[in-house]
Assembly symmetry: none
Homo-oligomer: 202 residues x 4
DNA sequence: AATGAATGAGTTTTCATTCAT
DNA sequence: AATGAATGAAAACTCATTCAT
């Protein structure tokens, strides 16, 4: 007599992950209790353990879901853009948007994911790799088409783009100033393409 | 008649701060216990409380000491360099060196300092501001001398430099690959100055 | 679907309060630990915190329960007695009985309740007031009926009765001598009514 | 080379007892730390242990000194009064004064002395006995001279007087109202002598 | 499947007491 | 005699996790 189908089960599980995301991003991993999460999900704390073996696993699920979502989103956006410059700016724009709209999740990611034991080789690491490859692919294509200087180190660009935007997002968060996503993305793209050097001097 | 002078006292205090730095950077703030720190310092846990009123205070001390050290170091290095490009590369180089040599501390800083209650307007915030101004000053000077395009947003550059190097350091740490500080600094400086665009296309 | 009903819940809570009463009265508030109480109640220390937010709260609960019990008991006994003298003696008798049977609780009350922060205006204060008013009401009635000298200060009488019995109870406890409640109550009532002065001299 | 004589030694000891009295009475025994006491006495915390083997011993010393003082004071005052009624009122007056002026010490006494292990047969118990005997002696004398009804139980009177005044003092402390020592003493004496019964009815 | 009562190890912090100097 | 650094044994309280119902 299966009264509750796989559908309902998955639904419950999603509820719990959603609740965990909400509380983790608000309070941070350490300061969040399983009861906080359960209450937020409208279930008992015991039930969470039916779906997730530990608090850590729940974090993993939140992070994976986040990654999957942004990879899908950004891949799609970039796929729709045509040409090197447009693709690059699109990715930068969507990444800025992400950081600005999902700061809590990003912070959670940054502070926790890297301390996840066995990160190397983990599913999360693989997702991370895939996310990064969106940019890498754009750069490789750009190089092949002659838009990008062949001496440029793709990994360095990746660090500057993702690290720089992260830093920017935090600074804005702290100061409370709103961010104009389009404008900031344009500026970053421009900076990345041409650097800071004055043409007069160059 | 204190037989144990202020010297020994300060020494002990330094021992405890050093131990705290070591353990905090290895395990993170939340996962570190006062007993861990005390044991590392070779003292009892009770003694740590003679010098620091709380675990939080100890973190503050670690962070402040760190900031003071790097500000002094980088200001001095930059001060010795002559000319815009040299100054910029010097700062980037020293920042890379810092992140690579002190990754744990940087991570601690990033994950904890920003969640410090009352960060805005705090002593730490002021130190942060001062550290950032080293780069800002270089850029302003560079603009005045015509090396930097006037349309460049200094804060954006700051984000790209500090955020990018941070990201780079982390990636290297995770992968365990060694970093050639001089080479990486040169690459970053070059990237920052000229961007990624191919001259052939530009 | 809670399988363990409110009944069981209340039962547990009562167990813990009872255990707290036992240990507090034996060892005093400060010297009692939550583990002492939990062990006495046959539960873990963590569980006590499910029911009471703090050790202080547990004390409050013990005190309130005590007060409620004695107010109900004494009001009922006094209500059944007819006439001023009988009412007065009844209250004195029941108060003596209380002190003799519940000395530990009374001591707890005396030593702790008065140092309770925010005692003034608290629920406990209100209960205290109500307990005191049982005697006050008897005295007022006695005055109206001409049994009590109008110049008598009711509050003073209250102090003599409650304070005196308290003192007596303690002395007896220390010496370990049994107390004949009826006899002592009669003596106190007599003393209170007529004073110590010899009629021969009066 | 005895540089510091017994005199200075005794002086130090007195300083420490005085400091202990001040802090104990203000904060209570449990909440007072040895460092509080040492600081108040202007000495190091280690030194206190040269004079007193433990915190408990220090409490004992404070209590003994207090007892010795009030016994001497009250015995002297009572000794100067002439006649039963005057002696009785004098003792009551001085006891009220004591409670009102030294509330902290009295509270300390009440809350701590009775939990002193081995109170029975202790020096403090002996002092207590002696203090009580001041009143007993007055009553015995009063009986012999026909002022006091022979059926009166001296111990009961003692309880009413000491317990009653204690209760009164606390009530006043809590309410913050000032106490007119002379007036209150007169009222209590009157109540004790004549009781509350209306003459009209008696 | 679902609950939430129950556990107990772990955390920060305090403080009486000791002892090298 | 005097100091105060140092200890370590608690204590209050929290929370991930388990399990009877």
């Amino acid at each position: 007599m299966p009264r509750i189908g796989a559908e309902r089960l998955a639904h419950r599980k999603n509820d719990i992950v959603a609740a965990a995301r909400a509380v983790f991003t608000e309070r941070g991993y350490e300061k969040t209790t399983m009861i906080d999460i359960a209450r937020q999900a409208g279930v008992s704390d015991g039930l969470a353990y039916r779906y997730f073996a530990s608090k850590r696993d729940l974090l993993q699920a939140v992070l994976d879901e986040f990654y999957a979502r942004i990879i899908a989103h950004n891949e799609e956006c970039v796929g729709r853009a045509i040409g090197f410059a447009a693709r690059l700016e699109t990715l930068i724009r969507e990444h800025v948007r992400l950081l600005v709209e999902d700061t809590g999740l990003v912070r959670l990611f940054i502070t926790e994911v890297r301390s996840l034991e066995g990160y190397q080789g983990s599913h999360t690491h693989e997702l991370n790799r895939r996310y990064a490859s969106i940019l890498t692919d754009i750069l490789v294509e750009g190089m092949e088409q002659g838009f990008v200087d062949p001496s440029v180190d793709g990994r360095l660009v990746r660090d500057m783009v993702f690290g720089g935007i992260e830093h920017l997002a935090w600074r804005r968060i702290l100061s409370g100033q709103p961010v104009d996503v389009e404008e900031v993305a344009a500026s970053i793209t421009n900076l990345l393409l041409h650097g800071i050097k004055s043409n007069a001097q160059g």
